[in-house]
C-alpha cells in the first residue's frame, strides 16, 4: 500500500515535471521567435539631441524604453565652491555662465540677495532697465528653444530663422552691456551704465521683428501637422506630478498650473507695474510646453515695450561703498528665469567674499522628472521629450 502510494506520487511528479519541461520549451521557442532581448542604448555624453553634454543610458525592449537614467556632471564646474573665493562683484562674472543662453537673468537674483544683505535698494530706473534686459534675455533664450525643438524633430529650417532673428536681440543687449552673451552688467545698488542714445527706438523695432518671428514659428512649426503628431500626447506631465518633482517655469505652466514668480513673487523689479498675462495650457504634453514658451516670448516683447515707454528718470546707482563688504546674514532670493525658478541662498560672514552660496537652478529640477517621463515611451519620443523639457546643461550641473 505504501509503495503504491509512492509510485502514484512519483507519477504525478513525473507528469508535472514533463509539463514543466514542455512549458519551458514552448517559452524558449517563443523567446527566440517573438521576443526581443533587452538592449542598452547610450546617448551622449555629446549628442545634438541632448543640448550639450547630457548622457542618457536607456534600457530598451524593442522600441520601448524600460528605464532611462540621465547621467549628469559632465559640465560640473564647481560654482558653489568657486563663489567662496570670489568677491561679490566677481561672482556675477561667474554666475553669468550658469545658464549661458539667457545670461542676464542669472545675475539678477544674486545681486538682489546681496542688496538684501547690504540693505540698499537700486533706484527705480535701474530696476526698470534690469527688467527690460531680463526680459530680453528671456527672449534670446526662448527663441533658441523655438528653433531648436524643431531641429530635434527633424525640421531643420526653423533654427536658421531662430539664429537670424536672435542676432538682433543679442545686438541690442550688446550695445547696452558690451557683451553678447555674458553682460555682467548688474552692480550691487544699480547697474553699470545708462542706456545708449537711440537704443529705445531700435529696441522697439527689434521687438517687432521678434513678434514677426513668433508669427513665423506659429505658422511653420506649431501649425505643422508632423510637428503636432510628434508632440501631442507625448510626455504628458500631470500637474500634481510636476509639482511633486519641483518643476517650475513654462514646464509647470504647460501643465495648467497658473504660477509665475514675476507676478506671485515679492520681486523688486518692474513686473508689478506692467500689464501682462501668464500663459498656461491644460494639456501638459510636449506641444503644450512649446506653445506656452511661444506665447511667453510674444508677451515678453510687449513687456519690453511697456518698460521702454514708461522708463522712469533718475539715477542708476544707489550710494554704495567702493569696497563692498557685505554684513553678516543670510538671504534667499528667487526669480522667474527663462528656464524656471532660479534662486540664490547667500550666507555672509561680513567679509569680501560670500561664506556660502547655494544655487537653486531650474534645469536640475526640470531634468529630475526625465526618468519618470521616459519610462515606456518609444525611442523617437526621447528626443521630443528632452527637447520640450528644455534644459541647459550648465544650469543642471553648475
Amino acid at each position: 500500500m505504501t509503495t503504491d502510494h509512492i509510485t502514484a506520487e512519483l507519477d504525478i511528479n513525473d507528469n508535472e515535471q514533463l509539463r514543466y519541461i514542455a512549458a519551458q520549451a514552448v517559452d524558449a521557442r517563443v523567446n527566440v521567435e517573438l521576443e526581443t532581448e533587452g538592449m542598452t542604448l547610450n546617448i551622449g555624453p555629446q549628442h545634438p539631441a541632448t543640448h550639450g553634454t547630457l548622457r542618457i543610458v536607456a534600457k530598451l525592449d524593442g522600441e520601448q524604453v524600460i528605464k532611462a537614467e540621465p547621467i549628469m556632471g559632465y559640465m560640473h564646474r564647481g560654482y558653489e565652491k568657486l563663489t567662496e573665493v570670489r568677491t561679490y562683484p566677481q561672482v556675477t562674472t561667474l554666475v553669468n555662465r550658469i545658464d549661458w543662453v539667457g545670461s542676464f537673468a542669472n545675475e539678477v537674483p544674486f545681486i538682489l540677495a546681496a542688496e538684501d544683505l547690504m540693505e540698499v535698494e537700486a533706484p527705480p530706473r535701474a530696476q526698470w532697465i534690469r527688467t527690460a534686459l531680463f526680459e530680453m534675455g528671456r527672449i534670446a533664450n526662448i527663441m533658441l528653444f523655438l528653433g531648436d525643438m524643431a531641429v530635434q524633430l527633424g525640421g531643420v529650417t526653423a533654427v536658421f530663422y531662430a539664429f537670424r532673428d536672435r542676432e538682433f536681440v543679442l545686438n541690442q543687449i550688446e550695445s547696452v552691456t558690451g557683451g553678447r552673451f555674458h553682460p555682467n552688467f548688474n552692480r550691487i545698488g544699480g547697474i553699470k551704465d545708462d542706456l545708449p542714445a537711440g537704443w529705445i527706438a531700435e529696441t522697439k523695432s527689434v521687438m517687432q521683428k521678434v513678434r514677426d518671428f513668433c508669427d513665423e514659428m506659429e505658422d511653420l512649426v506649431v501649425g505643422n501637422e508632423i510637428f503636432q503628431l510628434r508632440c501631442r500626447g507625448v510626455g504628458v506631465i500631470p500637474a500634481e506630478v510636476g509639482k511633486a518633482y519641483g518643476l517650475s517655469g513654462a514646464n509647470l505652466r504647460a501643465s495648467g498650473v497658473d504660477w509665475d514668480l514675476r507676478r506671485d513673487g515679492d520681486s523688486r523689479l518692474a513686473w508689478k507695474d506692467l500689464d501682462w498675462k501668464v500663459w498656461t495650457h491644460p494639456d501638459g504634453d510636449s506641444f503644450a510646453r512649446y506653445w506656452v514658451r511661444l506665447q511667453e516670448t510674444r508677451e515678453a516683447t510687449y513687456m519690453v515695450e511697456q518698460i521702454l515707454d514708461g522708463l522712469p528718470t533718475g539715477p542708476i546707482m544707489a550710494k554704495v561703498p567702493r569696497i563692498i563688504k557685505v554684513p553678516a546674514g543670510e538671504s534667499y532670493v528667487q526669480t522667474e528665469n527663462p528656464l524656471g525658478v532660479m534662486g540664490y541662498y547667500v550666507i555672509s560672514k561680513g567679509e569680501l567674499t560670500p561664506f556660502r552660496v547655494k544655487i537653486r537652478t531650474a534645469s536640475f529640477s526640470n531634468m529630475s522628472i526625465a526618468p519618470w517621463l521616459l519610462e515606456g515611451v518609444y525611442v523617437p519620443d526621447i528626443a521630443t521629450i528632452l527637447a520640450s523639457l528644455y534644459f541647459i546643461l550648465g544650469d543642471i550641473d553648475r
Partner: protein
C-alpha cells in the same frame, strides 16, 4: 602614404592636395558650453555662414571629420570622451580650441573639476581666445587653419608652433 611619409612627394602634387584639403574641411562640432552657441551661430546662422569658406559643419560622426572644434569648458569627466572622439577621427586631423575654457581653463582656473586646457590631452592647431569668442573670431580661426593647411608639408605635421587668433596677420 609611403610617398608622403618619405618626404619625396613632388611639390606641385603637395600643393594640389593641400588646396583640395583646405576647401573641404568637415567640422565635427564638439559643443560643450557657452561657446557652443557662438559656434552654432557661426556654423548655423545665415549671418555668418561658414559654408562659403568651404567648411561643412554637419558630419554624422567623427569618423567623417577632418577638423574638430572643442568649444567650451572641458571637465575632467569629459576628457575620456574627447580623447576617444579624437582617436576615432581619421588622419590628417586638426583641432581648434575655442574659448578661454578650452584654451586654459578660463574663469574656472581654480576649479577642482575643470581641465585647464585641452592641449594637455590632444594636440591643438589653432587657439581662439575669448569668453566666448565672437563668431567672427572662430571664422578667422578657420581661415588661419586653412592658411596653415595650404602651406603645410604633410610629412612635417605637428612640428612648429600653434597659431593663435589675433597673434599675427593673415598672409
Amino acid at each position: 602614404m609611403g610617398l608622403v611619409d618619405s618626404g619625396k612627394m613632388p611639390k606641385s602634387l603637395t600643393k594640389l592636395l593641400n588646396i583640395s584639403r583646405k576647401y573641404s574641411l568637415w567640422v565635427y562640432q564638439w559643443g560643450l558650453a557657452c561657446c557652443a552657441l557662438e559656434m552654432g551661430a557661426a556654423f548655423g546662422s545665415p549671418r555668418y555662414d561658414v559654408m562659403r569658406l568651404g567648411v561643412i559643419p554637419f558630419p554624422a560622426s567623427p569618423r567623417q571629420a577632418d577638423l574638430v572644434v572643442i568649444s567650451g569648458t572641458v571637465t575632467d569627466k569629459m576628457v575620456p570622451a574627447i580623447l576617444r572622439l579624437y582617436e576615432q577621427m581619421p588622419d590628417p586631423k586638426y583641432v581648434i580650441s575655442m574659448g578661454s575654457c578650452a584654451n586654459c581653463g578660463g574663469p574656472y582656473w581654480d576649479s577642482y573639476s575643470v581641465t585647464k586646457g585641452i592641449d594637455q590631452v590632444i594636440p591643438v592647431d589653432v587657439y581662439v581666445p575669448g569668453c566666448p569668442p565672437r563668431p567672427e573670431a572662430l571664422l578667422e580661426g578657420i581661415v588661419l587653419l586653412q592658411e596653415m593647411i595650404h602651406n603645410e608639408d604633410p610629412a612635417e605635421r605637428w612640428k612648429g608652433d600653434p597659431i593663435v587668433v589675433g597673434g599675427g596677420e593673415i598672409s
